[in-house]
């Protein structure tokens, strides 16, 4: 029986971030679909789980939390011995993972999300046409971040060391969307970033999330 519940939508990047973590950790969960088209995430009872009205919401027994990156860190630490290890035991190595988790959240994510919004969300939800100026501005920003990744990936196989970690995992939902857009050239033009993207996107855990996404 699953005591873990995820409230969200598989097409949301933040929800997908939590789901891929659950598959990596080999944990059972119950998925509660939040009907975002009907604004269920802006109404009660969902607001009692996440007062910001954003997916996902998460429950594990008595614990109720929101914010995808807080949820994945909870899963990685609480279920350290289940499935794949995503945060190293060594405190110094764990601190490096924590640093690159922050890099994803504060440097990669803002331009990454802006690009998927321009290329995919706007056409899909009828929010207007893709704005070439916004695309150019955010490709420039993301390019600078990926230059630093290219250098980092010359020192280690993955962002925070030679093992796949939560820092890599957090990129999957947005990277996967950008690969379906012209902005994928930002990855393809950087050999080490390209190899890293190819490797992480091929993980079986991510294939399971994509399957859920395609069903919805």
């Amino acid at each position: 029986m699953a005591s873990i519940k995820v409230h969200g939508s598989p097409i949301s990047t933040a929800t997908a971030r939590v789901l891929v973590c659950l598959y990596e950790k080999d944990l059972d969960y119950e998925f509660v679909l939040v009907d975002m088209k009907n604004n269920e995430h802006k109404k009660h009872p969902f607001l009692s789980i996440n007062p910001f009205g954003q997916v996902p919401g998460f429950q594990d027994g008595d614990l109720t939390i929101f914010e995808s990156r807080a949820i994945t860190q909870y899963l990685a630490k609480t279920y350290a011995n289940k499935g794949n290890q995503l945060i190293p035991n060594d405190p110094k190595k764990a601190a490096i993972v924590s640093t690159w988790i922050e890099v994803e959240g504060h440097h990669y994510d803002p331009p990454g999300v802006a690009l998927s919004f321009e290329h995919l969300v706007k056409p899909l939800f009828g929010l207007g046409e893709t704005d070439p100026a916004a695309v150019a501005e955010n490709e420039a920003k993301l390019g600078k971040v990926l230059d630093i990744y290219e250098n980092q990936l010359s020192k280690n196989k993955f962002l925070a060391g030679d093992e796949f970690s939560l820092a890599d995992l957090h990129h999957l939902p947005n990277v996967s969307y950008l690969l379906a857009t012209p902005s994928k050239k930002l990855f393809e033009s950087r050999p080490r970033v390209n190899a890293w993207v190819t490797e992480i996107i091929a993980r079986p855990s991510w294939a399971k999330v994509v399957a859920l996404r395609n069903q919805s």
Binding site: L63, I65, E67, A70, K77, T78, A95, P110
Partner: protein, 220 residues
Amino acid sequence: MATPVKVYGPPLSTAVSRVLACLLEKDVQFQLLPVNMAKGEHKSQEYLKIQPFGQVPAFQDESISLFESRAICRYICDKHAEKGNKGLYGLDQLGKASIDQWIEAEGQSFNPASSILVFQLAFAPRMRLPQDEKAIKQNEEKLSKVLDVYEQRLGESRYLAGDEFSLADLSHLPNGHYLVNVADRAELFTSRKNVDRWWNEISGRESWKEVVELQTKASS
């Protein structure tokens, strides 16, 4: 005696002051090393080795170099669990999870809007840069919505993550301080009863007063 940890950067930086507040709460000895940003020292090859994004702070403790203020704070708390304020980052995984969710809310919701306001209202005038009225208005609206959620939350518990002061509250101090004391936006806090009570409690902590003192010295 343990070698003091090294923090690179000026205390006037919000990210540097976040780390300093944490070190003072945890009673961990530190050495503050200046980085002359006016001279572009944060973009020098040597500095980029420890902080590839060319931003402050960078942090060193024995053989480890870190950056990103919230990651540094978590490291300090994990390493020195038994020092200073023991509950700053929770006492168990459930406590940590609750604190982490509010650190993320700070980093993803409070910080983007408030740091634009701090830049536009507090730093741009000092740097003699023109202010962007549209950005100010947009981000005041965004921050108001975030603070409405805080108002409700702080009606249920004394601090964001529960009844004890934590790293989640602390992370708000640097931007909050500039909004209230330099950018003339105290009303965002005082107009909300619970947020006002919370802000007075957290900004009155001895650790934060010491950081403000360091900032005052640095700017005089």
